[in-house]
Symmetry: C2
């Protein structure tokens, strides 16, 4: 999202760190995705950012939701989301949560093991289950096909088992990996999914649902395929491999791609030092207060206010806690003249940031979260003139 | 800490996950440490576990506290801890927090850079500062001498600078790394510290404080040196290298070693599956809900209830969230017959567990925390007979 005069004024005026969310990006992301994939039902993956205003906006747009736990289901129901708009997409569910979900009218459940089928069969007798296949997610920043999903033959066995247990063997899901850079991965995954459809159809089990999972990328420091391009690959692949399925339903479960570009984290430099030959810059935000994804070197665009075009040098960027793991980037190019109190922005940090933050690690509270509207209200307290914060 | 009948009964009866704390271990750890190091003032590193009952117990024992931020200082002051019992030990402080600390009577401040000296000089004009030297912490699980501390010559320059800025250049600190296995590291660090004392004494700056930092280990899966052995090395080294310093004060800042063995995490198996050749066990607790230190493969003793002596096989142990990083151990020996709903204990998880936990990641709340006394009360609600929970 764009670094606006409003955000810059707020970073100069308010305590940092804070995360600002521009919900108009969420709305646009939703609309683009709906348009890009034919007849798709979008299930927003709540875990990416469970901020109430995001959930309300998507609810009002007609979006559905992918929930990871009873906690998320509770929140969605309390916001008036209809249970037929919720899928229980975690393959590792508490049994009492399955019971709760079923009793509250939730129909869709993810599985990738026989044991999960048994847990669902005991508590949600006619539930619609979809089996998750693993994919080769080597082109993604966060592969999700080791802990989750299993091979095509195993998914077929699992869905047959679900059918024998009285469940509604309903479909196939996959996940190409979060922040995937290769649009062709979706084609490969849909081809694999079609094998499950075909082999089960031959046994008289007619699947209805293709769940495309998430994985669409957010713009950070590497080029990414656009949602329209990925949509085209998906539409063609569905037609080619699953065109024969009557009344096929298509779901997708975007998290990162719905909210990632709707956030900017603002922080300040607490300390700069040179130790040996190494230059250190310490910020008031760190790994355990919102930047967890950097632990595996996930790269955000980092902007040092008013020094965007200055000469750079390699430095180490770290957080404020007494924890050595709280090092954001071991090596990053930063302006040679970065200094105490400089404002540092992390761009497109709307997904998987604040959700991880500990409430009191090292006695430090997580960044405050403001929507753009809330930020304007906050600045009014400081008597900032409106022309200074024009977007 | 010992896995007692009380804890076992609680794990069978209550919702998991939960963390149980036995404060008698904290008391014993404190007393042992006081005894092991001659004339030492113990400053408990609050960040290891900021549970109010731990802080109250240590306050009542006469312990001092090492605070990482204003949040921790606030909590300590609100518990009636005297400001002369608090050290501001983070080398990366917010300037307004320094001001707050000084105005509230806190005297001791850690530094490892010129800029931090300037921040303290502006806000805490006569503060006692100690310079942190880096050590070769290659025998520790969590090296802390890259992000923190600097070389001996630089510490000397920093303390001279502090002196010129009107601060009280008061001493030297170090940290051999958290969970250190080599008792001789303390000798090396004290030798290095003594060089700072000597060189500054030659310039007329007479330091008074040796701060030994933390680093003493907790028993997990590898043999560790005992606190008495480490104390002996420390006492001899101080006598050998710093015996000449009049009125030397000795501080230590234990975190892990004060509370690590005072906790056990109880969890249950949510799912077991075989995918390809890999065996997966999924628990209701994971990396983002208390087991953060396992992300770098930190090894706890893991006990599967009633299957302690069963044949084992290599499996992967993962948490309950839809996050691939939420994998506790890629490879761990577990009983071949580990099954759904089995209780799994993580032993000696009193330090650096609950502090990291996100309050709502994936809609999952962190483990509840009980002291032993609270656990007994909780079980009384279930009409458990007292002979079943005898410790």
């Amino acid at each position: 999202m764009k670094l606006t005069p409003l955000i810059k004024k707020a970073a100069e005026t308010l305590d940092t760190p804070f995360l600002v969310l521009d919900l108009s990006y969420v709305k646009e992301n939703y609309k683009k995705l709906k348009k890009a994939i034919n007849n798709v039902d979008v299930f927003y993956a709540v875990k990416a950012n469970s901020h109430t205003k995001i959930l309300e906006l998507l609810r009002d747009e007609g979006c559905s939701f992918d929930a990871a736990s009873r906690g998320e289901i509770d929140k969605l129901l309390s916001l008036g989301v209809s249970p037929d708009k919720i899928s229980f997409g975690n393959t590792i569910k508490k049994e009492i949560d399955i019971k709760f979900a079923w009793e509250n009218g939730i129909e869709y459940y993810a599985v990738d093991s026989e044991m999960e089928v048994e847990k669902i069969a005991r508590n949600a007798p006619n539930a619609k289950v979809y089996g998750r296949i693993s994919t080769s997610s080597n082109d993604a920043d966060w592969p999700l096909s080791d802990k989750f999903g299993t091979d095509v033959d195993h998914v077929i066995q699992i869905l047959e088992y679900a059918h024998r247990k009285g469940l509604n063997a309903y479909g196939v899901s996959f996940h190409v990996g979060s922040q995937s850079y290769n649009k062709h991965k979706w084609k490969e995954a849909i081809l694999n999914a079609s094998e499950v459809f075909e082999k089960l159809a031959a046994k008289g089990i007619n699947l209805k649902l293709l769940n495309l999972g998430g994985g669409m990328p957010v713009q950070h420091v590497k080029p990414i395929p656009m949602v329209e391009e990925i949509g085209e690959v998906i539409n063609q692949s569905i037609e080619e491999y699953l065109g024969w399925v009557d009344g096929l339903k298509v779901f997708t479960e975007p998290g990162r791609s719905m909210v990632g570009n709707a956030g900017i984290m603002a922080s300040k430099v607490l300390l700069r030092s040179i130790k040996g030959t190494k230059h250190w810059v310490y910020l008031d935000v760190g790994v355990f207060h919102g930047l967890m994804e950097t632990i595996e070197n996930f790269r955000y665009e980092v902007v040092v206010n008013n020094k965007e075009n200055h000469e750079t040098a390699e430095m180490t960027l770290a957080g404020p806690s007494c924890d050595s793991v709280d090092t954001i980037y071991d090596e990053i190019e930063l302006p040679v003249d970065i200094d105490y109190n400089d404002i540092v922005y992390f761009i497109n940090t709307g997904a998987y940031t604040i959700e991880y933050a500990s409430p009191h690690f090292n006695g430090i509270t997580p960044p405050k979260v403001f929507t753009v509207e809330e930020l304007k209200e906050e600045l009014q307290k400081y008597k900032i003139k409106s022309e200074e914060i024009m977007i």
